[in-house]
């Protein structure tokens, strides 16, 4: 968070600056733009008809449906978790606060494959709850439930890590005033806290959503990969690819690539909006 206005130097007429910027832009084009273009070109490599046939195939549509369903289940739970964690951490002092912040970030450091394997040892036949689940005749592994659970693990830090620094900076004076005037906790949260954190919340939720919809490693360990049943969109792309249907895999991939680009657009819009709000707040403070 910058506290002073930046003075960026225009590059025109400065050979060293032009060289640095040129090199950076060229590398960015090769590293970041080329893969996106490759997806678009390869997706239509076998013609528009083949593209449409792949994207509207029942298996693809089912995979899209399952991916959207996973996001609908997982994102709200992680929003609730993020809000709870941020409220407890930013509005109260208690021993172990810093440790708790570190623990919340743990899933970011764990390989998705490790996460998938770990879940197998809780809910699988060989797992901690394996016998109990078998006795109740409940199958978790290799069903959509396992997909929901690992997705929850992999994306649990996204909302919390956006809200915690935001709510720490904002302080609790507004909320304390509302409580002292007799507002209930829920009312205080909805009318005082939420308006201040809504952009951070949306930002975290959007990143969480993109990761849920795109998660591959963890889901591929626990899903069972059954076509038309437990195949999410990323798994479906792998299936098509290994069927030597490369154009089909790229066609299915365009749906997720569009989602990624939309995520970036919304993310950038929110960042500019919050930066503008911060500038206004600073100007008000100076006046």
């Amino acid at each position: 968070m910058s506290t002073r206005p930046l003075h960026r130097v225009p590059v025109t007429g400065r050979p060293a600056a032009m060289l640095l910027v040129g090199t950076g832009m060229l590398l960015a084009a090769l590293v970041l733009v080329a893969p996106i273009l490759a997806i678009a070109v390869n997706a239509f490599g076998a013609g528009v008809g083949h593209y449409l046939a792949t994207v509207t195939h029942p298996d693809t549509l089912h995979a899209i449906g399952l991916t959207v369903l996973t996001a609908i289940v997982v994102v709200p739970v992680n929003i609730a978790f993020g809000v709870c964690a941020a409220w407890a951490i930013c509005r109260f002092r208690f021993p172990g606060r810093k440790l708790l912040i570190a623990v919340i970030e743990v899933p970011f450091s764990v390989s998705p494959v490790v996460a998938g394997v770990a879940y197998l040892f809780v809910y699988g036949d060989q797992g901690l709850f394996g016998d109990a689940l078998a006795a109740m005749d409940v199958q978790v592994m290799f069903t959509v439930w396992a997909i929901f659970l690992v997705s929850l693990f992999v994306t649990s830090p996204y909302v919390a890590r956006e809200l915690i620094p935001l709510m720490q900076v904002q302080g609790s004076e507004g909320e304390e005033a509302a409580i002292s005037l007799g507002a209930s906790g829920l009312r205080t949260f909805l009318h005082v806290t939420l308006p201040n954190i809504k952009w951070g919340l949306l930002y975290g939720a959007i990143l969480c959503n993109a990761r849920v919809m795109g998660e591959f490693g963890a889901v591929s360990v626990v899903s069972g990969n059954i076509r038309g049943q437990t195949n999410t969109l990323p798994l479906h792309i792998e299936l098509l690819y290994h069927d030597y249907n490369t154009a089909g895999a790229f066609a299915a991939a365009t749906t997720l690539a569009v989602l990624a680009v939309l995520t970036l657009v919304v993310k950038t819009t929110i960042e500019r909006r919050t930066a503008a709000l911060r500038r206004e707040a600073m100007e008000d403070g100076a006046a």
């Binding site: 930046l6 997806i39 709870c84 591959f216 790229f250």
Partner: protein, 270 residues
């Protein structure tokens, strides 16, 4: 005193216990049940050792690339005004937004013998697809944002007066960078590199498409854990996953130490 402490902290701890701690504990218990000798036999087997060499080697190469590329991008984004700057700033996050499986097939398409990059590289004898180089390329792509996003805010917050003072005392641009700017961004740069390295060690989706996945040659550790599961060798999978988990925790501690160093540095400058 605000309400909701017990409720929110309780929910947070319950969630973390069920969703995060329980599975990781179950994994460690499964590994422990194996016994020390059997554990070492699995994680020290020649095939497992080969995956560590491939994974760590490729992750180091990817991290070195990203430390150079990330520093360059962070520098030009903060210091210069040029057409396309805002687009570049947004584009840096693409590897986090793009699902890894999509990145995997896109990179494989680019570097295959008939791909846009592969058709120029293969005549030069540089084979990227189905080689360790391909693994490094996939790791490099998926971890691009780390170094940029850790160095960028530190550069933005630097006091320009420090550099002006150095210049007015006769320092050249190179000296200003080496003696004034670089020491300030060093902890963030190293922390970003460690994050990129950690991500590269655990990456799976983008790599398996481009790697070729030959045992002893182009097989990464995450894939070996996956293969052990498919062979119903659950203890073997648990042991290998445990090695990956411990490596991830070590790197997490390193990143936290680097960030503490960063904060101490910032506290000294008024």
């Amino acid at each position: 005193m605000l309400p909701g402490f017990g409720l929110t902290l309780g929910c947070t701890l319950l969630f973390l216990a069920l969703v995060v701690a329980l599975p990781l504990a179950a994994l460690l218990m499964k590994s422990a049940a194996l016994g020390w000798a059997d554990f070492l036999a699995v994680v020290g087997s020649p095939r497992a050792l080969a995956t560590y060499r491939v994974t760590v080697g490729a992750a180091l190469a990817a991290t070195l690339f990203n430390m150079a590329f990330g520093l360059l991008i962070a520098w030009i984004l903060v210091r210069y005004e040029f057409p396309g700057r805002r687009a570049l700033d947004a584009l840096v996050d693409l590897p986090f937004a793009l699902p890894t499986a999509v990145a995997g097939i896109a990179l494989t398409g680019l570097f295959a013998g008939n791909g846009w990059f592969g058709q120029f590289l293969e005549p030069l004898g540089i084979k990227v697809a189905h080689s360790v180089t391909g693994i490094a390329v996939a790791m490099a792509f998926t971890s691009v944002p780390f170094v940029v996003r850790t160095v960028q805010p530190v550069l933005e917050d630097m006091d320009p007066e420090l550099e002006e003072a150095a210049r007015s005392l006769g320092a050249t641009e190179r000296q200003v960078f080496a003696r004034v700017v670089f020491p300030v961004i060093l902890p963030a740069w190293l922390a970003g590199g460690s994050l990129a390295f950690a991500r590269s060690l655990g990456e799976f989706g983008a790599i398996i498409f481009i790697a070729g996945n030959l045992p002893f040659r182009t097989e990464i550790t995450a894939l070996l854990a996956f293969i052990r599961l498919e062979e119903f060798d659950y203890s073997g999978a648990a042991a290998i996953a445990t090695v990956m988990l411990l490596a991830a925790f070590l790197l997490l501690v390193l990143v936290n130490l680097l960030q503490a160093w960063q904060l101490r540095y910032l506290d000294k400058t008024p």
